[in-house]
Symmetry: D2
Subunit: 265 residues, 4 copies
């Protein structure tokens, strides 16, 4: 994940966020337009992940052969195979979950929905939303101690059945299924995680009808003891969740194998 | 539907909306707090439907016996039977769809997602959203010409399978199934409409992963010719959709029967 | 549907059925092996549909590139798109439903599960099973009066969701959706009917966990009044069900259009 | 599981099976009718599980208040909650899987669909079917060495979604979820296993459209190496599958705990 480009909800919102980022000293300045997006402001989060913020954009227009039967969707063929309806959220590994979380809370003004608090203080993971979706940006602790790594990108499917189908496809195609299909305790999303051939973790996620419609919804804080119960229906979290990320650290495979065997290198 | 109470996203948003409503002359003034909600501002839309706007509220707290297994949901038993996860949207019949639509567009600052435009000008129906859900408030033309009637209230379910199950339950319970389960062309929601014993239309709706994430999403306008193709997979719109509402007009049953037989009284 | 080839459950079963058919005078004699099947006995049902009965067969063996990840399925790619898991059943139109039904009951020794009885006597449709599936062979009355026509062939899918997806695909591909997705009253199958470009009706069907496990299960007889209630959730049977078949009669399109308009030519 | 009562497909089939059982010396003779079933022949399998075989039965007749909306189902309310459509299969633990399997193969004339063969010879588990369902009776190796114990009873649901819902219900009700929801490699059934409060394992199972329609379907044999890959999508088999059964052995809880920790007492 070289960088993440985010669209502001309005030109005014863009200006406000850029001003806030500039105050943190993490800004890299305005960059020239690229394909599909206008001028954008580049910056890093406190853990070194690179972002761009923009407002101007060019909406996709389907040409003749991709025109859908129903005009209120972007293109034909919405659902063959897994039906990845949209990019849903992105999860970063971080050497410092607290600092990155505070950045999204205070500077980016996203709202925290859930978090895992460590017994020793600080957080193992924090989930943030921009509007009604239960989360858009997530940070998780990187047990390797590296800065700025990528945990996963998630595609939202219309149904849980899409995700069960996806598992069959990945099995058939020989793509490594790391975890799921199953249901998260946190935010209760139905999930499936695979590692694409390049080693990046991809999630297929379905949140059902879950949205955060309450404007002052309290943050849900999970303790280590609560997390030890496993995911919603009881299966324990796969240990490679805390070790596997991209770019790989030097002994990535060894670390992942150790994690699966219950050891932490 | 005696009245509809809506919560503003902040005290400031409440003030802005009340000021805007007051300018229209449709306001009825501030009213005292009621159970669960604080002081609210009462008003009518241009067709006579009654609304209240408030911000202060009391969040539901489950007592011991209703405490859920997962702390990030409001109470136990989320899914027995049909699993109505949340109130999703409300649809009003209106003698004047144009005026009510303009009110929600200009005064209430909700954003229009889709609309049905009549060949003779004006609109047969308009769909509005407050944030990322594809619609929250809808107005449809009332063929009886009455003002201020109710079309339906919708509950969102986590899955389409919930809606297929619901149809079995309603069949078994003798509740009149008016339409569906099927898929709307407009907004592509999977739906089921029943009339509860009192005659009010209730929808069970599943939008899949469909949300409006684009801040300047263009309005989708359907023509009469496009609507004549029926719903997504081709079934024609049930004629009572344009006649049946509450409160009943004097000869409601006769009008509905005529509609089903292809006549418009 | 030029002819239907059926496999007997054993060489002895084949002999018994052939002997029974020969007694009816409908037999056409033994024919030479063809690709995939051994010698077969050809015959007509009383309405002129052609069948072959055989036992010897060659099981499909996937070659290297089609070998599945799980060895207990026939080949790779079980579920892309619609996932037609198996050929489920075949439905014939008949000028004489009574005679064909009696043939399958008495000569072929299949067991009737459900039937529609006409007020004037005789049957509008009859459903037969060979073992535990709720039906394998069906006959329906042909309102055109033609002999030996084909009504539809059905593919079973693993889920109802497959069928909802299929409807989206057919919409996108411009394939005519005649009826559904919806739930039959008879045998309670979830269904979708389309006309492939050649005019043949194809069904995608899901019976849930419904099987006939009771060896002496009584036949369920539906009256005309019961059928007039429509399918399970109330939608009326599409009128072309009684007129559209292949091969086409001379004025097929006109007859179908009349049926949709409530007229019977 | 005190005993299992099975219905023969005809009086003649009953006579044939009883004669075959008598030859094995495992018969206990005919017993008087009981509620719902006529005279039955009682016997043991080689591992000491008790069975009864009968043909005469009394079909359930719904009284007025339980009469279903559709006459082709047994009673009202088919689907609230989990919708256990039917009893699907029963799985026994056995000290000697080979002997019990041979009994069902040779004496009971059921047909084997799949089996797990041990590297050292013999079988760890064998699946048998009576007709088209992929399995009805299953035997698995009991690592405690006990004879005649019960592994689980399975209810078939119409959909996989029912099983996902069931997991939510069990979570909410505090019923121990041992394994799943997930997909078996063997027979590819979607499953969920719980322990009801008395300690008996109950499965909720959905086979999709999978049936064995081929009369001479070859047995699928899995090796230990193939089984070591885990279930369909890769999750390893839960270790208590080989230890937990009823009646409990003396140190059942200790044995189960050891199994979960990777030790075999």
């Amino acid at each position: 994940m070289g960088r993440t480009m985010l669209r502001a909800t309005s030109p005014e919102a863009l200006e406000r966020r850029v001003a806030a980022v500039e105050q943190t000293g993490l800004g890299r300045g305005w960059k020239d337009p690229e394909v599909g997006i206008g001028a954008y402001y580049e910056f890093e989060d406190p853990d070194g992940h690179v972002f761009g913020l923009y407002y101007d954009t060019t909406l996709y227009q389907a040409d003749e052969q991709d025109r859908p039967a129903l005009k209120n969707q972007a293109s034909r063929y919405p659902g063959y195979g897994v039906n990845a309806r949209r990019l849903d959220h992105i999860n970063y590994l971080a050497s410092d979950v607290n600092a990155t979380g505070d950045f999204w809370d205070q500077t980016m003004k996203s709202r925290e929905t859930e978090q895992v608090e460590l017994d020793a203080g600080g957080f193992a993971a924090r989930w943030f939303r921009f509007a009604q979706k239960s989360y858009d940006v997530v940070y998780s602790e990187d047990w390797t101690g590296e800065r700025g790594r990528f945990h996963h990108l998630a595609f939202a499917t219309d149904t849980r059945e899409d995700i069960l189908k996806a598992a069959d496809f990945f099995l058939e195609e020989g793509v490594y299924i790391e975890y799921g299909p199953y249901k998260h305790a946190i935010n209760q999303t139905f999930f499936l995680y695979v590692w694409e051939p390049g080693g990046n973790r991809i999630e297929f996620a379905n949140a059902g009808a879950r949205l955060i419609l309450n404007p002052d919804q309290p943050v849900v804080t999970w303790t280590e003891a609560e997390r030890a119960k496993g995911q919603a229906w009881g299966m324990k979290t796969v240990p490679t969740f805390h070790t596997h990320g991209t770019p790989y650290v030097e002994n990535q495979e060894e670390i992942d194998r150790a994690a699966l065997e219950g050891r932490r290198l």
